[in-house]
């Protein structure tokens, strides 16, 4: 099937790009066909974010978003930043908080609901939006340029052979293909390798964000309250922190981001998140409340230094597929939207000139002169400072921001997350408390709330490059860290009744598509590919 533009991924970047293409085409009276595919069963099903959004990107894309009913209903009313210790906490006065942590003018939103609304705007403009279809393969023309993508076959059995329900995927051809799969997109990784896009970039680094949605008692609810913490339960050498945002409808979004450069293989981000909730300054919010949602997703944290080359013949990367999230502000949806817009603004004039399947050099050029570039540049030393000693890093980043205003005469660099894991024997095991089923929970009942589902009879979408590595290396040297960092309990070490014959069991049906295993496996032995379309989590209001 032929289109002018194909967008892979229905998140804020992909939708913004599709909308902007149609807006620009309408201005010139041109007819530009746009097809957007999304692997979730509906737009928003796979979207998970805190989120406190800076409306800057949306203001530019759809200035009358309020009149059109965009779900930005809770302006931020109060910012709190706390350092937690095991029993206590101390609050950093707002006057000492660097500008990147101030949230006046921002909104507490559900990014999933916003994407659903953006999807409706896109369809109203004539974008063909197809949810339930995963981009499985990049297609190349005979000159080696990207000519589109193929959607995944449906109905292939566990043995790799077609079942009765088999439907072949379709080829979607385009003059330009925009890749907007989000953090650690599988096609994005393939494109980076093929076109050598990371030649001059630092390796990307990541965090895993685990989030719960709670309905709290009215007296505990303060709409617009934004709380961030650092410190306990994470140790001083582990990057991460929590977020706790009060939304409308008595809902509170709460979560913990753990940097995937953590060193101790005994660490379980899920358990850290559960015990974080028990802190005396956090637990009161949730007394008498009930948990209504759970999910997890990896996020990019490398920012400026980790951005790859954005364009290649026939397409480009937008949103977190490239990695535009600002780690210092922990905000990425505004830059995702902006990047989609910039790509569209480069693309439509190119199409008008009869171009196609070439490099949209106007897109990175526009990025370099945009507010996005300025914002990411000034935040660039955040992650590198925070990759060592958190307390020292905080101090140094404070200097970087308050003294140098983000324009320090140096740019620090990043090291890949999976190289940082130490051997299990060199690290102390962590004794996590048992869940109480009221405030803290076990992994399986949590995954239950993500509504994730996969057809059992299909090839496992989590593949191993070498089937011997999980036991020989991961278990022997690192005590199987995948059994801890996976927020969905996909990985288990199964043993015989006598404890012998250990083997890695992959419960692929539990997967919530967070991509953490693809990132953190010490030898990069695990490769995540999209299962057939329409599966995975069905997040609501996340």
């Amino acid at each position: 099937m032929e289109f002018d533009v194909v967008v892979v991924g229905g998140g804020p970047a992909g939708l913004a790009a599709a909308i902007r293409v149609k807006q620009l085409a309408a201005e010139t009276g041109a007819d530009v066909s746009v097809c957007l595919i999304e692997k979730g069963s509906e737009i928003g099903a796979h979207i998970l974010s805190g989120a406190v959004m800076d409306p800057r990107g949306l203001n530019e894309l759809l200035p009358n978003w309020k009149a059109r009913g965009a779900p930005l209903n809770t302006p931020v009313t109060e910012d709190r930043f706390q350092f937690l210790t095991r029993r206590g906490s101390w609050r950093l006065p707002n006057s000492l908080l660097p500008a990147c942590f101030h949230n006046e003018g921002n909104y507490v939103i559900s990014l999933g609901n916003l994407c659903r609304w953006l999807g409706q705007q896109a369809e109203a403009l004539g974008v063909e939006v197809y949810a339930g279809f995963a981009g499985a393969e990049v297609l190349y023309d005979d000159k080696g340029a990207v000519k589109g993508v193929a959607t995944s076959d449906m109905g292939i059995g566990k043995d790799g052979k077609p079942t009765d329900a088999y439907q072949r995927g379709v080829e979607l051809h385009a003059k330009y293909t925009l890749f907007a799969e989000g953090c650690r997109g599988q096609l994005g990784l393939q494109l980076e390798a093929r076109f050598n896009l990371r030649e001059r970039a630092d390796p990307q680094v990541y965090g895993i964000g685990i989030k719960e949605l709670w309905e709290v008692k009215p007296e505990r609810h303060k709409p617009g309250l934004v709380v961030h913490t650092a410190g306990w339960p994470l140790s001083n050498d582990t990057y991460g922190g929590s977020f706790l945002y009060h939304m409308e409808n008595r809902q509170v979004a709460v979560g913990l981001v753990v940097g995937l450069g953590y060193k101790n293989p005994h660490l379980s981000p899920f358990e850290e998140f559960q015990r974080y909730k028990t802190h005396p300054s956090i637990r009161p919010f949730f007394e008498g409340g009930r948990r209504i949602g759970y999910g997890a997703r990896a996020i990019t944290a490398g920012g400026f230094q980790a951005l790859p080359k954005l364009v290649f013949p026939g397409g480009c990367m937008i949103g977190d597929d490239a990695g535009f999230l600002n780690g210092a502000r922990i905000k990425g949806s505004h830059t995702a939207i902006k990047s989609g817009m910039l790509a569209a603004e480069a693309l439509v004039p190119a199409l008008a000139k009869g171009r196609g399947r070439d490099e949209l050099e106007a897109y990175p050029a526009a990025y370099r002169t945009s507010w996005m570039h300025d914002e990411l540049y000034r935040a660039r030393n955040f992650k590198p400072w925070m990759s060592g000693n958190m307390l020292f890093g905080t101090l140094m980043f404070g200097v970087d921001q308050q003294v140098f205003r983000g324009r320090a005469p140096w740019t620090l660099h990043l090291k890949a997350d999976h190289t940082k894991l130490k051997k299990a024997s060199e690290c102390t095991p962590i004794d996590y408390p048992k869940p109480d089923g009221v405030l803290t929970f076990d992994r399986l009942s949590s995954v239950f709330l993500s509504n994730t589902h996969h057809e059992e009879n299909q090839p496992a979408h989590l593949t191993l490059k070498d089937s011997g590595v999980p036991i020989k290396i991961n278990l022997e040297l690192y005590d199987a860290p995948e059994t801890r960092y996976c927020p969905a309990g996909v990985y288990e070490i199964a043993r015989d009744p006598d404890g012998g014959n250990p083997r890695l069991q992959i419960n692929a049906a539990n997967c919530v598509h967070c991509k953490t295993c693809d990132i953190k496996d010490p030898t990069q032995n695990i490769v995540w590919v999209a299962p057939q379309g329409g599966e995975g989590p069905v997040y609501s209001g996340m």
Partner: protein
């Protein structure tokens, strides 16, 4: 031969629903919606009959708010030729739906009406049966196998004791059970084609049907949480507990 298939828009079967905090009903705001799984099976069966040459046209019909259009588009993407939406924001209960379907049947004159055996949101299991009674047609409910012949249809029904096969004179109402078939995956080209297939929109008033609810929901609560079990020493203790604690004998 024309087949009419009734489809309902319900909360997606993968979603774990919860009761509203005030107990007035289920929380459905912002949840993903989808075609009722048993209705998907009904659509699949109708489309297979058309592909086998036994039917000439499959018409999908749904009742509810404007968003039901998506459900009808899915039905057409699976192979239905056209669809009818009876649009209303009112609370529709099985009797009202059956009456509306009876009016549609009078208009369209199908030979078979397929429905799902029940909807996964209310689990009423009434609409197909009520429809058959209203229009005085034979019914084959909980169908796990359907065999169309000249002038009649053989329906194998899943019943408590096993399977029962009935022969119904056409026209007939059939409701689909789980094992009737496995619905096909909808393909992208078929979704695109479905956009161009005709969809007619009607209102209940146009059909002259009184859809006022006859049932009022008083309260919805979570089921009681499971209590821990207890081991008993012998049958005597079991009987005593069944009498005094469980109060079932």
């Amino acid at each position: 031969m024309k087949i009419l298939v009734a489809v309902k828009r319900v909360v997606d079967s993968n979603i774990k629903v919860r009761v509203k905090a005030d107990g007035s009903g289920m929380e459905t705001a912002n949840l993903k919606m989808a075609m009722n799984p048993f209705d998907e099976i009904a659509v699949e069966e109708a489309v297979r009959l058309k592909e086998a040459g036994s039917a000439t046209e499959v018409v999908a019909v749904s009742m509810g708010p404007g968003a039901c259009q998506e459900t009808l588009r899915s039905a057409m993407a699976m192979g239905a030729d056209r669809s009818i939406l009876v649009q209303t924001d009112a609370d529709l209960q099985p009797l009202a739906v059956a009456k509306l379907l009876a009016a549609i049947v009078k208009k369209e004159v199908p030979r078979v009406v397929f429905l799902g055996k029940q909807a996964i949101d209310d689990d009423s299991n009434q609409t197909g049966q009520m429809l058959a009674a209203l229009i005085d047609w034979p019914q084959g409910t909980f169908a796990s196998k359907v065999k169309l012949a000249d002038g009649n249809v053989e329906v194998t029904r899943e019943i408590d004791g096993g399977l029962e096969t009935v022969s119904l004179q056409l026209p007939a109402v059939i409701t689909a059970d789980l094992r009737l078939n496995t619905p096909r995956y909808v393909t992208l080209p078929n979704i695109m084609k479905a956009k161009k297939k005709p969809m007619e929109t009607l209102r209940p008033e146009d059909l002259g049907v009184d859809i006022a609810p006859r049932l009022k929901t008083l309260k919805v609560t979570d089921p009681p949480s499971r209590k821990a079990g207890a081991k008993v020493a012998d049958v005597k203790e079991l009987v005593a507990k069944l009498r005094s604690e469980a109060k079932v004998i």
